[in-house]
Symmetry: C2
Amino acid sequence: MSNQPTPLPVVDLAADAPCCPPLAQRRVPAETAAVLAPAFKALGDPVRLQLMSMIASAEGGEACVCDLTPAFDLTGPTISHHLKTLREAGLVDAERRGTWVYYRARPAILRQLAALLTVEPAPGA
Amino acid sequence: MSNQPTPLPVVDLAADAPCCPPLAQRRVPAETAAVLAPAFKALGDPVRLQLMSMIASAEGGEACVCDLTPAFDLTGPTISHHLKTLREAGLVDAERRGTWVYYRARPAILRQLAALLTVEPAPGA
DNA sequence: TCTCTGCTTAGACGGACGTCAAGACAGGCT
DNA sequence: AGCCTGTCTTGACGTCCGTCTAAGCAGAGA
């Protein structure tokens, strides 16, 4: 398990989906929904949303688990579980360097999700 | 219960949150995460994601339940349940006109979610 | 090699979720 | 009024989710 650079069979969302048009422009097909819904689901937890933000906004683009864990009133395994969820959703990437494990965001899928939610600039107000 | 124009005590997300900066720019505070995570969670189901898209992309900005239900291999109550979830997440608004019930999207919160997921245009490729 | 620290995995438990069948309510038509 | 159509609510059931404790694995240092 340790001889591969990417230890998990993470779904490669960013490369698979055809970089969908806005949700409000044309109806999202079932296949696209099935692929992207898990990403939204992964962001649908307050802890994971904060984790995602901490990772994406970290200096150097990566955050150490040792910095993430003490920011919550949760046990280490619970944080690890949430990080695994983000990993399996294709939102983050993990890399072990020496003692510590670093997580970094995948901007491509974030862009994809943002594009999907894009709507016309102003309603009228 | 039937003497009010808005039958449900829907959370007014769009008006409450301070229209947050991008997730990758500064760390999302716990309160913001607690408010916005349910919206992502509501979109974290393939059926609801398609429903949201069908409503948001409908002509006139609104869609009838009678048009939404036959698009899925699910029973009416199940679709109704999903629509209720979207309603309670503040993503859509419902209005009864005669026999049919029409749903319309709330662009404000969609914009808010899209803004939160916004990242720098291109990484380098 | 031994031990210590950091992170993940395994197993368990309570609660929430997705689905359905059956019943209730609202509005239109005869 | 009475019926019919369309939608929502209720109650139930099986599954998944979030959390914990306990145990396992990987690296670093003595």
